[in-house]
Amino acid sequence: MERIQVAYINNLSERLGKSVKLGNLEIALFKLSNGEVRAIENSCPHKGGLLSQGIVSGEHVFCPLHDWKICTGDGEVQAPDEGCVRTYKVEIQDEKVYVCL
């Protein structure tokens, strides 16, 4: 497993997503209001909308293009739409945020 530092925890604002490019991958990072940090693929399965720019509610994010609702925990698109995005494990150590690939 590869562990990559992508941010310091204070780079992330609650409920405001950030994106990071790792090679060909683009990942959206979210700090939820409970402090947890989540990482998912930064592309909506519908039309590739940048999820990092969506409105965050609880552990869900709403795609800014067509309002699809996606769970940042398991990557599942919520009904009535269907699909899923990749999720990545996040580790936080000494204020540093790592994404595990």
Binding site: Q5, V20, S33, Q53, I55, V56, S57
Partner: protein, 611 residues
């Protein structure tokens, strides 16, 4: 007996009970009892001038014919069997009779209408129908509830309901009217049950309900919508709320008096699928509360944060959704213009980043060009910025300005800094543009300087947050080159004044604007625009354009608010207060590195560390 005609009442004097009346001219009169009565006087001048027989109204026979064979009269100008009806429902019945007559169809005679009225008098709901005064040959059922402030009386003659009057709770009104019209025999019914409304939890009441009404029976008297029309619409279009029925069939659209009946029909037609909570329009699925209720609660409980509103009002989702969060953020900003701190994380991306997100994740930038007027210097800056930041397309917009497309998110603050022009708010629920024509400065037809007025209007109202986008325009003559007929606020200059159109829309809901008023001066244009936009800001649902809002609220009501000098003045004051708290968002971000970092910078990955 003294008749004080030509007096206008200023107020009723007395604290515990009435002591007298104060008139506008300062004179007073003592009183033990005040009786209020309101009426109308039919406009019969045309008939009089044509020598048609007129009494209080134009006298008609049972086929609505006047004493001149080819002339008919219906509605509130007509007097039939010595009765002049001042309500809309009899007009529909009379219209049918006269239509049959004109078409040569052998039809029924008009026998007169049983009318019902529904009013609010000093805040108390009042309903009356038919003959509700007792006489020797009538009996009545009465309920007087001091606790609930309710009085009900049903007058019965020969076992039939002939009239009713209700104070306080008028939910039985439509049901009683139905019984009067049908002449329902009540000899087998327990009398008390006649006055038991279904809202009391006794929905099993044996009284005639909407279910037993004939299919042809009219439910909505204002718009002549029958039971079968409503039931068919429910089934065919899968309607589930009163609001949907209203939009689909027009039932309950005017006075709203038949709403309970429509609701009963929905309940009956849908059976178990009927959801009580759908009765009113909730702002989103996170709550059952409507916009009005949420606003009342925010005001009443002095709630100041989006999260607080959701917590205190018991939101089903702790953090709301993409519908209610921006809506609540707007409502709070509208209610507390000086105190409220806008919540970036509750804004849709476009309004958070002050640019329009595009399909490929880039953004577009539209700088302000007041009134659609630009100059060589601004154009040069736009050209330079476009070269430097690889703008993919430079597009002229419908609102008379320039759109720079394909800009990367992280470049946005730099683009704004180099443009050094104000934000055009092309992304916002806000004033977009004021489109103008060339106007009297150049155009040989122009009657007003539409360009300058447009520039001034745009400068005054720019940055104002509104429930949805607002587009305006000013044309200098009725040729209307700036398309003022399809704008939220459209001004048409005419010789010596300005026509103001409102609620126009050239988009999803294509609609010609309504003429709000004609004013003489530019000052009045500003005053009425301010008042109109402020009333829209205060009462529209979030994401409701003025076109829908004007239709829902009614142009007449909007006029009442705006033509009353005091209420207009208050609206203008509140608008001015809101406008003093706006700042150019591009400039703010250009000057604030924290915001740039927080909203516009992507993360860059450090060296991978293996575990």
């Amino acid at each position: 007996m003294n008749f004080l005609l030509n007096k206008q009442t200023e107020k009723i004097i007395g604290s515990k009970r009435v002591k007298g009346l104060l008139f506008k001219d300062g004179s007073k009169v003592a009183a033990d009892l005040v009786v209020m009565a309101v009426g109308i006087r039919p406009n019969v001048q045309l008939a009089k001038d044509s020598r048609i027989h007129v009494n209080r109204g134009i006298i008609v026979d049972d086929y609505m014919q006047t004493d001149s064979p080819n002339i008919h009269a219906v509605g509130e100008c007509a007097e039939h069997r010595e009765v002049v009806y001042g309500l809309v429902a009899p007009l529909y019945e009379q219209g049918k009779i006269v239509a049959e007559k004109i078409c040569g169809v052998e039809g029924k005679k008009y026998e007169g209408s049983v009318v019902s009225t529904q009013l609010k008098v000093s805040g108390v709901d009042v309903f009356s129908a038919g003959r509700f005064m007792d006489s020797d040959d009538t009996k009545s059922i009465k309920v007087y509830d001091d606790f609930e402030g309710v009085y009900k009386k049903v007058v019965i003659q020969d076992n039939k309901v002939i009239g009713a009057v209700l104070f306080g709770n008028i939910s039985d009104g439509p049901k009683l009217l139905g019984m009067i019209n049908k002449g329902t025999d009540i000899s087998d019914l327990p009398k008390v049950s006649i006055l038991q409304s279904s809202a009391d939890g006794s929905s099993e009441s044996p009284v005639i309900t909407v279910i037993t009404m004939a299919n042809s029976e009219v439910i909505c008297g204002c718009n002549g919508v029958t039971k079968s029309t409503i039931c068919e619409a429910i089934v065919e279009n899968g309607l589930t709320t009163v609001d949907q029925v209203k939009n689909c069939t027009n039932a309950s659209r005017s006075c709203g008096g038949c709403k309970p009946l429509v609701q009963d029909l929905l309940e009956h037609t849908l059976g178990d699928d009927f959801d009580q909570s759908d009765i009113k329009e909730a702002i989103c699925s996170c709550t059952n509360l409507s916009r009005e209720e949420v606003i009342e609660e925010i005001k009443g409980k002095k709630l100041k944060f989006v999260k607080e509103v959701m917590n205190v009002l018991g939101w089903k989702n702790d953090e709301g959704c993409s519908k209610c969060r921006p809506a609540l953020n707007y409502y709070l900003g509208m209610l507390y213009p000086s105190e409220y701190n806008d919540e970036e994380e509750s804004r849709f991306v476009n309004e958070r980043l002050h640019a329009n997100i595009q399909a490929d994740g880039t953004y577009s930038v539209v700088p302000r060009m007041y009134g659609g007027v630009t100059n060589a210097n601004d154009l040069r800056k736009i050209a330079d910025v476009s070269d430097k930041y690889d703008v993919a397309m430079i597009k002229l917009t419908g609102g008379q300005r320039i759109d720079l497309l394909g800009i990367k998110k992280e470049d946005l603050p730099k683009v704004w800094a180099e443009l050094d022009m104000p934000s055009g708010y092309a992304y916002g629920k806000a004033l977009r543009t004021v489109k103008t024509c060339v106007g009297s400065r150049f155009c040989r037809f122009g009657t007003q300087d539409s360009t300058q007025l447009g520039i001034d209007l745009e400068k005054k109202f720019e940055r104002l947050n509104t429930p949805h986008k607002v587009k305006m325009s000013v044309s200098a003559c009725p040729r209307n080159c700036a398309e003022s007929g399809i704008k939220d606020v459209g001004i048409v200059g005419v010789d010596g004044g300005f026509e103001m159109y409102v609620g126009g829309n050239g988009g999803t809901h294509l609609r010609a604007g309504d003429l709000l008023c004609t004013v003489k001066t530019e000052e009045e244009v500003f005053e009425f625009t301010s008042a109109f936009l402020q009333y829209y800001r205060e009462t529209a649902n979030y994401l409701e354009r003025t076109s829908k809002w004007v239709e829902r609220t009614g142009l007449e009501h909007v006029r009442e608010m705006l033509f009353d000098q005091k209420s207009r003045q208050q609206l203008v004051e509140r608008m001015d207060e809101s406008l003093t708290h706006t700042k150019d968002p591009w400039k703010e971000i250009v000057e604030n590195e924290n915001k740039q970092e927080k909203l516009f910078q992507n993360l860059s990955s450090a060296v991978p560390s293996r575990v």
